[in-house]
């Protein structure tokens, strides 16, 4: 099997592999950062000082991360505008991959576009539900 054949057969694998890689990296970094932030806050409290607001904000956001909230783009992503942005991004991706499927629907591998479009559509729906029924902060 040549590289071209291999790539043609398995190109779609780069997306789930990238997703898994990012999820793993985020998980480890989030754990390390949370420990560091809490340690710093504890040190402030021990010295009788008020922790800086940005540090408290960071701790609050990290605890939201552990609540499995949507956190796609970092700063302010748990706010209503962050959720609205997640909805727009997922909707755009669903529409893009849906359109991609339409153009290549004759091909054998067009199912990959449907899978991604449906996944993004479900994510968009989840973002919309969080936007409507989620915490108003």
């Amino acid at each position: 099997m040549s590289f071209t054949q291999f790539f043609a057969a398995y190109w779609w694998l780069m997306f789930p592999v990238f997703g898994m890689f990012m999820a793993l990296i985020s998980m480890f970094q989030s754990e390390r950062r949370t420990a560091k932030t809490m340690d710093l806050i504890k040190s402030y409290v021990d010295q009788g000082k008020e922790p800086p607001p940005e540090l408290l904000k960071l701790a609050a956001r990290q605890s939201d991360d552990w609540d499995m909230d949507m956190n796609m783009s970092g700063v302010g992503s748990n706010s209503r505008s962050g959720r609205a942005w997640s909805f727009v991004v997922f909707l755009a991706l669903a529409a893009g991959f849906g359109a991609g499927y339409y153009f290549v629907r004759e091909q054998d591998w067009s199912f990959a576009f449907v899978i991604v479009a449906v996944t993004m559509g479900v994510m968009a729906l989840g973002s919309l539900l969080l936007l409507i029924f989620g915490r108003k902060s």
Binding site: F7, W11, F15, F18, I25, R33, L40, Y44, K49
Partner: protein, 47 residues
């Protein structure tokens, strides 16, 4: 051969660009948080 691969998979440029942007976003976010931690540590007296 390279031309054939490019003709078939040119559209992969867009998701690959998205991946690169995601990685860059993660790196920038990490730098921002590290800066907050460093500032807080400095305020504490160089712990």
């Amino acid at each position: 051969m390279v031309e054939d691969v490019f003709r078939d998979f040119w559209w992969l440029i867009f998701p690959l660009f998205g991946m690169v942007m995601a990685v860059l976003g993660m790196v920038q976010e990490n730098r921002r948080i590290d800066a907050i931690h460093a500032r807080a540590r400095r305020d504490l007296g160089g712990r």
